[in-house]
Every structure is written in structure tokens, then in C-alpha cells.
């Protein structure tokens, strides 16, 4: 039973509706007929069943996927990398809502786009019956039927004022150029992702000093820094003289320790970790790693020595003088003393 495809081109939606009725009477079901047009005619105008699509449902699933992505980005990352910041809890609710909202919308819209492509079988590699006059404003009525009905269909088309009829015997050809193009687009995208990954994961290393710590730094309106003479003693800020404290120590008290704990959370915890044992998520990025403040090496230092480390910095540790006031540094020291193992 050979199938034939016919495409009638009409001026008016009413002619198409009339032709559709006659074709149905001929025993051709609605799913064998397609109306092609330059503008979205409503099914009611043509007396056609309402098309069913799953784009809406796909968008709903996409929204759920977006919620999952948002939960990972907000809650997931905060659990992977428990960084206290700005006095907020590890999983703060308001910022989570913002990220959730954006990701949900992202999932909804992307999935409705891909849902539309999938439901329409886009990109189409098969050549199906079509005529460029459709985009000239003609309404096309494509019918797929048994070859024996071909003459009947044609006469129905002419009866209803068809402008022309297009025959397509050899329908369902594939379009090699379309396929080749979209396959190569996919290939290039995958290749780019792989190449990017090679650089991102440092499998290919670029020998280029890109970190601030490894670069010479010159401040605004400052000339290049000269190396100090070999016998010079570079001193910036306070130094330890005869075991005298640089400022008056704050005696240890529950209040001072409490203040120290809070200040520690703001200024020290990022590197030294929530338990002050040097185990923070970013510790692996430093060489040598941040000191374990509960260890004997740190605890056996005098208060004045710790005060100077906080004030001047030490090794990779920057000076905290700008963020911790004098009394505040003593509060932190009092807190660190309570951590002795």
C-alpha cells in the first residue's frame, strides 16, 4: 500500500476548513493531515483537534531540576564548604531563597526551550513535504494517504479553491547538510569543554605567575621596591623589646574570651579553621599550611609574641592590624589560650 503526500495551497482558512471536512468524509483521519501556515491559526478556525504538546509539563520538570540545582548551589555548597561569613549562619535562608529563585527560573526556561525543540523534533533532518509559498502567506494542507485516493484528494483541493497542489512522491529524505552541521556543532562543544577542563584542572599548566602572592606588587604611585641591604633589620610596626608588651594586655575574663571568640570567627577562622587547628577548607592552598593554634608550638609562645604575629603577620599570614584593634587582639589571644590541648 503505497503512501502519497499531497500539499494543497489555499488563500483562505475557510477553504482549508471546508477541504478538511471533505477529506475526513473520505476516511482520512486528522493525524494524517497537517496544516502549514505563516501565522498561528487557531484550531477552532480550521475545525481541527487542539494539538497536544508536553512543553508545559517538560517546563515543570525543568523547574524541579532548577530547584535541585539551586539547593545544591546554596545548601550543598555551604555544607561542602562551611564558611561562616558576615555573621550569617552556614545555611542562611534569605540568600538561599534568591539562589533558589534564579535557578528555578533557569530550569523552567531552558527546559521549555529544549522541550519545544524535542516536541517539534528540531533540528529536523528529514525533508518533509513543504513549499516556500507557505511563507508567502498561503495556507498549506498536507495530506498523507493511500495512492488510490490521490485523485479524489486533488479534486477536493481544486473544489475548495486551491491555488496549487504540490506532489511529493519521495518524501522522508534526510538532509545531510543539516545533520552534518548539527553533529559538528555538538562535536566542537564537547571538544571545547574537554580542552577547557584540561586547563581548569591544571592537567596542562600554563607557566604564568597568575596569583597575587607570587607577583611583585607595587602600590599606587610607588616605585619598584628595592631589596634591603643584607645587614639591615627590616622593621615595620611594633617589635618585641625585652619581653615588654607593645600595648597594655587585656586581662583574661569570660567577657574578653567571648569577644575573642567572635572576632576569631570574623578574622582568623577562614584560614585557621573553626576549631583553630589549622584545618580549614582553604588550608591546602597554602604552603606552609596555616598553623594549628592549639598545638604546643603555638601555645608555648608568649602572649607578646602572638600579639606581634597578629599585628605584623607572619610568613604567608597577613597583618590583621587593620581589622583588629589593640584590645581586640588581646581578646583573641585570651581566646586562643583557652584552646590549649
Amino acid at each position: 500500500m503505497a503512501e502519497v503526500q499531497l500539499l494543497g495551497l489555499f488563500y483562505q482558512p475557510e477553504s482549508v476548513a471546508g477541504a478538511l471536512d471533505r477529506l475526513r468524509a473520505l476516511g482520512i483521519t486528522d493525524d494524517k493531515m497537517t496544516v502549514l501556515s505563516m501565522a498561528p491559526y487557531r484550531p477552532e478556525m480550521l475545525g481541527r483537534p487542539k494539538p497536544k504538546g508536553r512543553v508545559g509539563r517538560i517546563a515543570l520538570f525543568g523547574a524541579l531540576f532548577g530547584v535541585a540545582l539551586g539547593l545544591f548551589l546554596s545548601v550543598g555548597i555551604w555544607l561542602l564548604y562551611p564558611l561562616h561569613q558576615g555573621g550569617q549562619p552556614v545555611v542562611p535562608i534569605p540568600p538561599t531563597l534568591i539562589v533558589l529563585f534564579e535557578c528555578t527560573m533557569l530550569g523552567t526556561m531552558w527546559s521549555s526551550f529544549f522541550g519545544m525543540l524535542g516536541e517539534n523534533r528540531f533540528p529536523k533532518f528529514r525533508k518533509t513535504i513543504y513549499d516556500p509559498r507557505i511563507t508567502e502567506g498561503f495556507i498549506g494542507l498536507a495530506v498523507e494517504a493511500d495512492r488510490s485516493l490521490s485523485d479524489n484528494i486533488e479534486s477536493i483541493f481544486w473544489d475548495h479553491g486551491a491555488h496549487d497542489i504540490v506532489h511529493d512522491q519521495a518524501a522522508e529524505k534526510t538532509d545531510p547538510k543539516q545533520r552534518a552541521f548539527w553533529l559538528s556543532v555538538g562535536g566542537v562543544l564537547i571538544a571545547l569543554t574537554v580542552i577547557l577542563g584540561l586547563f581548569v584542572y591544571d592537567i596542562i599548566r600554563i607557566p604564568f605567575p597568575t596569583n597575587m602572592a607570587n607577583q611583585e606588587s607595587i602600590a599606587y604611585l610607588q616605585g619598584p621596591r628595592l631589596a634591603a641591604p643584607p645587614d639591615a633589620v627590616p622593621v615595620q610596626g611594633p617589635v618585641l623589646i625585652d619581653g615588654q608588651p607593645a600595648t597594655d594586655p587585656v586581662p583574661s575574663s569570660p567577657d574578653s574570651i567571648q569577644r575573642g571568640k567572635v572576632l576569631f570567627g570574623y578574622s582568623c577562622q577562614v584560614c585557621h579553621g573553626p576549631n583553630a587547628d589549622g584545618k580549614s577548607p582553604i588550608a591546602g592552598f597554602f604552603n606552609p599550611p596555616p598553623a594549628d593554634l592549639t598545638s604546643p608550638q603555638v601555645q608555648q609562645l608568649t602572649d607578646q609574641e602572638i600579639y606581634l604575629v597578629i599585628t605584623n603577620g607572619f610568613g604567608l599570614m597577613p597583618s590583621e592590624a587593620e581589622v583588629l584593634g589593640r584590645e581586640e587582639r588581646w581578646d583573641v589571644i585570651n581566646y586562643i589560650r583557652t584552646l590549649k590541648k
Binding site: 564558611l83 534568591i98 522541550g115 525543540l117 507557505i134 508567502e136 552541521f181
Partner: protein, 484 residues
């Protein structure tokens, strides 16, 4: 009512009397939807300027391209020597780059609003202008997206913002408004592109059918095999509906989050609870101005007189006037509370604005954003005068750029500690990069108009099918009907 079978849909009914003919003639002159021509003819009007390039086009193309290259070279120079080559210094560590960022994100708002909100509300004048507006959004957003990266200094490290398992074992912190910003902008930009593309599919199919050779292959690939079947239209409409209702809240969220980049800090002039809606309205305001500028330039350079008529500029002018009023309302809200509170730093900042060094900026802003639109846009004659509209829309954009200058470098110059006050010294690198950014938007835009149809013809055609006139008493009145 009998319809002849072999009369094209776009053929006008024959008027019964001379008086009716005169009324019909009037409607055809005024309304695009009541003035249908054969699609081939209309498509010719769209495609002709795409294919025939004048000398003027090439001159503008080369100038814009040169300015964009200048921007790139300046950017490399700045990366090589560091941000010290710009005027960024304490206390104005955020300046022109962030101004540009906020400005271009703002420009990117009107496009989606016009296209999505006016589609949802079924406002008729959106039909021929929606794509021109959407494309303003896409290119302005893409340009805005470069500015945080330019501002980074170490621009090549921008990917550190993205959340992915990495060798540094560090995840970005979503406590920070800057990351909300990244998420929101990526959502908005990618979805705006998809939105514009879905709406463009039928027009790409049209170009495919009207072109030959390589152009045909190009459009055939991009049209994805669009035939215009009922199923395709249905799925496209569902997808467009999803986008319409999802992208409007995203659009609001994007500029609100941009405002939170500022409002979350305790800086005088920034720490305001009204910043969210105030920024959104400001964004729509400057964006609507930019869309008007784009439409006037398109109409004049691409000879789109058939598609872009007085009714469209009239509608956009009313929209601009409403936004100007809304902006003034929010600005007054933002201004009044600190003025009344008289916190010392706020007083200094406000004195700078009213009679200090920033006064020329402030008064220009108030004139361009409030006085000028209110004094002119109430008149239909002015709204439909292209020269006047061009000037007003341009001034609105100047005013809104100045508004961001006041919010960022001028506000940053005054903080709680007087020893740390300062003025931002504008230098050459950021000036060149800013000029380059404006050129980039223009460059991408004119390039786009050469490859893609800037008029969404299928929407115009749909409007022309469903709009007819009806007789009420002696007059023929346009019957408004849009199929649901």
C-alpha cells in the same frame, strides 16, 4: 458573509461608499495592523536593507569596529600593568566600570519588558518592535557582563566565580550579593537569547524560503526545519508563554540584585531599602529610551517606514513618560529619608549634590530625567516627532548614566571617615573602554540587522489577519481581537 475562495487573506474589502473609503484610508495610514500588504512585498521591505549595503554602513561599521579594537587593546594594556593605570583608588574603588555595568544591565531591561510584558498584556504596538527591543537586551547584557570581568584586574581568573569542583578546593560563597548577581545575569542573558530565538524561528524559515545559495543554507540550518505546522505553532506558543511569565520576574530580580550589590553595604548613599524597585524602574526608564533610539535609527537607516509608524513611537513615548514619573517617585523616596535623617555623611553627600562639585551632574540628571520628559511627552505631536523623540530619549540615557555616576563614584567619595574622602579622577584607559563598550553594542546591533530580520514579520502578519474594522454608527472602528 461569504468569502471568496481565491482572494488572498490580505486583500482589503471593497468600500461601499466614498466616505467609507476615506475612513479606511485613514485607518490604513495610521495602523500597521489594518494596512496589510502581500507578504512577499512586506518581506521584500525587510530583506532589501539587509542585503544592500551603503557606503554609510561601511563607514559606521569600520568606525565602530575600530573603537571596539581600541577597547580590547586598552583592556590588554590594563591587564598587563594592573588596575593602577585607571583612576581607581581609595576611596572610589568602584567607578566607571561599575557605572557601565549597571547602565548596560539597565538598558537590557526594556527589551524583555516590552517583548514579554506587552505580549502578556496583548498590547498591539509591540508587534513590529519586539525583536528590536529583545536584541537591545541581548547585546547590552552581553556588554554589561564584560565589565565585572574588566574590573577584576586579573580578568583571566573570572571563572573562579563559577561553582564547579576545582583543584583549589574552594567553592564560591553564595552569601555574597556578587554571586547572586552572577546567577541572575547568567539566567537572564541565556534566557533572553533563547526567548529571542524561539520568536525568530518562523522568520528564519521565511528568510530560508526567500534566499538562495549560501544564505539559504545559513537560514535553513538556523530555522531547524520550521514548517509552520499546527503542532509547531502550538509548541512555540507554549514555550513563549512560559518564557513570558518566567522572564518578567527574572528581569525584576536582576536589577534588584544589582541594587543589592550596593544596598547591602553600609555606605552613605547606598544603604537604602528602596534601592531594589528604584533600580528596576531606572533600568526600564533608560532601557525604554534606548529602545526608542534604536527604533528611530532602524527606521531611518533601514527604511522601515511601513513597519515603524507614529503609533509605535506614540506608544513608546507614553511608556517613557510613565516610567519618568515612576522614576521621579522612587528617586524622591530614596532622597527624602536620608535628607530628613541628617546623618552627618549623608548631609555632606547631599551638599555635594546641591551646591558642591557634583551639582552640575545632579541638576543635569534632574533636568534630563524629570523636567524634559514631563514638559514634552504629554503631547502626541512631540511623541510622534522623531527628531524630538531622539533628543528626549538620548537625554534620558545621559541622565540615567549620570544617575549611576552619582550613586557610584560620587557617593563613594564621601564616607563616615572624613580623612578618607576623595574624588574620582577619570583617566584615559577607562574612558577608552567605556567608548568601546558603547561601540560594541552598536557594532553587534548593526551586524545583527544584516543577518537577521529585525522586524518579527510573523507577528505583524498575525496582527494583520485578526484585525479588521467594524461599523459602529457612522464610523468604522478598528475591532480589537486577538485569539487566545
Amino acid at each position: 458573509m461569504a468569502v471568496s475562495k481565491d482572494v488572498p487573506l490580505w486583500q482589503q474589502p471593497v468600500p461601499e461608499s466614498a466616505e467609507e473609503a476615506a475612513q479606511m484610508e485613514h485607518h490604513r495610514r495610521v495602523r500597521l495592523t489594518l494596512d496589510p500588504v502581500a507578504p512577499v512585498q512586506a518581506q521584500q521591505m525587510i530583506m532589501e536593507p539587509m542585503r544592500r549595503q551603503t557606503l554609510r554602513f561601511y563607514v559606521i561599521f569600520v568606525i565602530l569596529f575600530g573603537l571596539v579594537i581600541t577597547e580590547l587593546i586598552t583592556w590588554v594594556y590594563q591587564m598587563w600593568w594592573g588596575l593602577g593605570v585607571t583612576g581607581l583608588t581609595r576611596p572610589t574603588m568602584w567607578a566607571v566600570y561599575i557605572v557601565n555595568f549597571v547602565y548596560f544591565i539597565g538598558i537590557g531591561h526594556a527589551g524583555t519588558f516590552i517583548s514579554a510584558a506587552l505580549r502578556a498584556l496583548k498590547v498591539e504596538y509591540r508587534r513590529p518592535i519586539s525583536r528590536a527591543a529583545e536584541i537591545v537586551t541581548v547585546f547590552a547584557l552581553a556588554t554589561a557582563g564584560t565589565f565585572p570581568i574588566i574590573h577584576l584586574g586579573r580578568s583571566w581568573k573570572f571563572y573562579w566565580l563559577l561553582p564547579y569542583p576545582n583543584e583549589r578546593q574552594i567553592w564560591p560563597s553564595y552569601h555574597s550579593p556578587l554571586l547572586w548577581d552572577l546567577t541572575a545575569i547568567l539566567t537572564y542573558l541565556s534566557c533572553s537569547i533563547l526567548f529571542a530565538y524561539i520568536a525568530m524561528l518562523p522568520d528564519l524559515a521565511m528568510l530560508r524560503d526567500r534566499s538562495t545559495g549560501r544564505w539559504r543554507l545559513f537560514y535553513r540550518i538556523l530555522a531547524l526545519g520550521w514548517r509552520g505546522s499546527e503542532q509547531e505553532w502550538h509548541n512555540q506558543e507554549t514555550a513563549l508563554n512560559v518564557f513570558t511569565y518566567a522572564i518578567i520576574p527574572v528581569m525584576f530580580s536582576v536589577h534588584t540584585i544589582v541594587s543589592w550589590d550596593f544596598a547591602m553595604a553600609l555606605q552613605p548613599g547606598w544603604h537604602s531599602t528602596v534601592f531594589g524597585p528604584y533600580f528596576v524602574i531606572g533600568a526600564l526608564f533608560s532601557g525604554a529610551g534606548a529602545v526608542i533610539l534604536a527604533l528611530i535609527l532602524l527606521k531611518k537607516t533601514l527604511h522601515l517606514d511601513y513597519f515603524l509608524r507614529d503609533e509605535h513611537f506614540n506608544g513608546m513615548g507614553i511608556f517613557l513618560l510613565l516610567l519618568s514619573m515612576a522614576w521621579a517617585y522612587f528617586y524622591f523616596n530614596d532622597y527624602l529619608a536620608p535628607w530628613y535623617g541628617k546623618a552627618p555623611a549623608d548631609v555632606v553627600l547631599y551638599n555635594q549634590l546641591s551646591h558642591g562639585y557634583a551639582a552640575p551632574f545632579w541638576y543635569t540628571m534632574l533636568f534630563a530625567n524629570i523636567v524634559l520628559p514631563w514638559a514634552t511627552l504629554w503631547s502626541r505631536k512631540i511623541r510622534t516627532n522623531l527628531g524630538a523623540m531622539f533628543f528626549i530619549a538620548l537625554m534620558v540615557n545621559v541622565g540615567m548614566y549620570i544617575e549611576r555616576v552619582i550613586i557610584i563614584p560620587i557617593s563613594l567619595g564621601v564616607n563616615e571617615l572624613p580623612y578618607d574622602w576623595g574624588r574620582y579622577p577619570l583617566r584615559l584607559p577607562e574612558t577608552l573602554i567605556t567608548i568601546g563598550a558603547f561601540s560594541l553594542v552598536g557594532f553587534l546591533y548593526i551586524l545583527f540587522t544584516r543577518f537577521f530580520p529585525i522586524i518579527p514579520y510573523w507577528e505583524v502578519f498575525e496582527g494583520q489577519i485578526v484585525h479588521k474594522v467594524q461599523r459602529i454608527g457612522k464610523a468604522l472602528i478598528p475591532a480589537r481581537s486577538e485569539p487566545d
